[in-house]
């Protein structure tokens, strides 16, 4: 039999009966002897069937009511933003008039300072979102804003001195993070940033009329309230923005921008290179958008800085380092866990995630108290050390477990029906699975939240799980734990 590439187009036409009778016969004749084309034809038909199934699949039923509420909230925020924008425009106009008067007086005395003032007044910048001057002398009457450090992971520095949670951020401050540290700052209501590990950022201008951050290296994620004039300088590039959420990463001359919400303009010199509308990514020539080597920088995701909405000061949450925890995630923000992490968190229920070195996560549910909280070992669910050596992808585990999910449930329901033990309905379970080098299950242990699992349930689930076959893990045996949420219907 001859080995050849199947003529996909001809086979598709054949399958669709779109060929002439002679053409159909020719393909049929060829198919009789060609296994490659038989396989291709079967793949075409398999795909056709699955595509039809996908088209006819029932859609998920979503809670549109919840969405409407969220959209209404968004509408209110937008309205607030535009009011703020008008207020700031008026303020800037007043500033411009005052500046004009000051400028005239200064010219009158032939001040050398006056000759350096830019001709453009701040209101022009507000109207067109033009580049903001870093030199704050253009609006000398305007008081700088004061920001606050809302989260600190590890050792971070402001102006070469170690900084702490709650420290005030001033215009002119230079913030630095180490390879395993990070910080979040709030500069105004609804506006702030998250500085990634191994980064250096100067707060060049923090004024009501606009904020300018200068990224010297590393990455910064930003959230900007609509109406706020905000700009991140990164080397030769400027990212100019109003009301948006985006991140800028800089490695030498290469700059990457990920835009999660809103619109930003990328500028260089006097030219606007590109205007991005979310969601979008941009990279300077030579930089890649899809992946990044910059530590702690994820070009596809924009971190949301912590504590932007706190009108009243939120209590502090302290996360000491724990063995086996390499990262924390709180309210969508990620922190390295090598050193002490302190952050602002809202009162009430709070969920944080603790990641181990292999990317496995445990959820920790906390009740934040007004006086603050320090996480203790007792609050942290166990992250097994185990003897894990090999690698088994989460997808591979999911595929096997999902395919056997019904059997696990049958175990539970059968035991519940026969034993009628009410404690069965109240327990949460965890199943430890040890997978051998060939993908066979070597050991299984079922534990219940309250202690030992019901013997009949344990036996049934153990028996079932011992029969699972996983793909052979690479590098050695693997152990993992499955939380089982079993409940009676």
């Amino acid at each position: 039999m001859s080995e050849h590439s199947p003529k996909t187009q001809a086979l598709m036409a054949y399958d669709a009966e779109a060929l002439s009778q002679a053409g159909q016969r020719r393909i049929e004749h060829h198919l009789e002897a060609c296994e490659t084309c038989q396989r291709e034809l079967l793949a075409i038909q398999t795909y056709a069937e699955l595509a039809t199934e996908i088209r006819s699949a029932e859609l998920p039923r979503l809670d549109y009511g919840r969405m409407e509420l969220a959209l209404r909230r968004e509408a209110r925020d937008q309205a607030k933003g535009s009011k703020r924008s008008v207020a700031w425009a008026l303020l800037a106009l007043a500033a411009a008039v005052l500046l004009g008067v000051v400028g005239l007086r200064q010219r009158g005395v032939d001040s050398p300072q006056a000759s350096r003032l830019p001709e453009r007044a701040p209101e022009t910048q507000l109207a067109h979102a033009d580049t903001l001057p870093v030199d704050s002398s253009v609006a000398p009457q305007e008081q700088p804003l004061e920001g606050e450090l809302t989260a600190v992971a590890g050792v971070v520095r402001i102006a070469n001195a170690q900084a702490n949670l709650g420290d005030v951020l001033h215009e002119g401050d230079v913030l630095e993070t180490g390879v395993a540290s990070g910080l979040h700052g709030r500069l105004a209501s609804g506006t702030g940033f998250a500085l990634a590990p191994d980064s250096r950022l100067a707060l060049s201008r923090v004024r009501p009329s606009g904020i300018v951050l200068s990224l010297q290296h590393g990455a910064v994620s930003n959230a900007v309230l609509t109406g706020t004039v905000y700009q991140v300088d990164a080397g030769a590039y400027r990212v100019v923005v109003r009301g948006t959420r985006f991140s800028v990463a800089r490695d030498g001359a290469e700059v990457r921008v990920s835009l999660a919400e809103g619109t930003v303009a990328i500028e260089r010199g006097d030219a606007t290179l590109e205007v991005l509308h979310a969601p979008a990514e941009w990279a300077s020539p030579g930089a890649e958008t899809a992946a990044t080597d910059t530590p702690g920088v994820d070009s596809a995701s924009v971190e949301r800085p912590i504590g932007l909405d706190m009108e009243l000061r939120w209590p502090s949450l302290t996360l000491p380092p724990f063995p086996r925890v390499v990262a924390w995630e709180v309210e969508g923000a990620r922190f390295p866990a090598d050193a002490l992490v302190a952050l602002r968190a809202p009162e009430g229920e709070l969920t944080l995630q603790a990641f181990d070195a292999r990317g496995r996560a445990r959820e920790v549910h906390l009740e934040m108290l007004p006086e603050g909280l320090t996480l203790t070992e007792a609050m942290l669910p166990r992250i097994r050390v185990g003897t894990t050596q090999g690698e088994l992808s989460p997808e591979a585990i999911r595929t096997v477990v999902r395919s056997r999910q019904a059997a696990l449930r049958r175990c539970y329901e059968r035991v519940l029906r026969r034993q009628g033990d009410p404690s069965l309905t109240q327990a949460a379970y965890s199943l430890r699975v040890d997978v051998g080098v060939h993908g066979d299950v070597r050991g299984v242990e079922l534990t219940a939240s309250g202690g030992e699992a019901h013997p009949a349930l344990r036996d049934c689930i153990t028996h079932e799980a011992l029969g699972w076959i996983f793909p052979a893990p690479g590098g050695g045996p693997v152990s993992f734990e499955l939380p089982l949420n079993l409940s009676a219907r």
Binding site: T8, I44, M67, L71, P279, G359
Partner: protein, 227 residues
């Protein structure tokens, strides 16, 4: 601005009621596109993405100039948001722990016939292959083959010539066929296909396919050329 739908026009000007009307008119289609692009996904995740789409609509509507139809603009935004969601998901650390969700009425695998479970598994396996395609090919394939859009409409959404859309679709399918032929997780789907043929066991049909005419399964809307 002329020629703009009055509801869109009002929503652009910040009329909350008009925006709500837009949301209600288009939420089902947006949900369907998001679901088709993401593949089998928990409802809560689909919900987040759909909400994200409408928040983007809300924030960007003032930039909509009416150069394209509102629906084209909306679907473009929808596919962009879904694509970014997939990228973001890929870039995040993955959970090695697998949480088996509590069963709901919709997820009753015990009482459902095995066929439905098998179908779900086959679709998951297919989506795993689809996600391996490049973004451009995947987008065109999903919109055409799973969502049923015409090539011309897709061309407007992805801002590419119709011919480019057809080319991407052809190469996307070709790549998928090769993957399907080699993917052992889809072997049951092939078996299922063979068994579904009237009066044939898989073995018999295979033999027949080898020696005579191919199975008479036809899906012209999928295997035919792009409209």
């Amino acid at each position: 601005m002329t020629g703009l739908d009055p509801v869109v026009e009002r929503a652009r000007e910040g009329d909350e009621a008009a925006f709500n009307q837009l949301f209600r008119s288009h939420r089902d289609t947006v949900t369907r596109i998001v679901y088709r692009v993401l593949g089998p996904t928990p409802e809560a995740e689909v919900e987040d993405v759909v909400q994200d789409v409408f928040i983007h609509v809300f924030r960007s509507l003032k930039n909509f100039r009416g150069d394209a139809r509102f629906t084209t603009w909306l679907y473009r935004l929808t596919t962009n948001v879904a694509r970014m969601h997939i990228r973001k998901k890929r870039s995040r650390p993955r959970f090695a722990d697998v949480s088996i969700p509590e069963a709901t009425d919709d997820d009753d695998t015990t009482n459902r016939p095995d066929a439905a479970t098998d179908r779900g598994r086959r679709i998951e396996a297919l989506y795993a292959l689809v996600q391996e395609l490049s973004e451009k090919k995947r987008e065109v394939l999903v919109l055409h083959d799973f969502e049923g859009m015409a090539a011309k409409e897709i061309a407007e959404i992805v801002e590419a010539p119709v011919l480019t859309v057809r080319t991407r679709l052809f190469y996307a399918r070709k790549e998928l066929y090769a993957k399907i032929a080699q993917d052992p997780s889809l072997a049951p789907a092939v078996e299922h296909l063979l068994e579904s043929l009237p009066g044939q066991s898989a073995t018999e049909t295979k033999a027949k396919a080898k020696s005579a005419a191919p199975p008479p399964l036809r899906q012209r809307h999928v295997t035919g050329s792009a409209r």
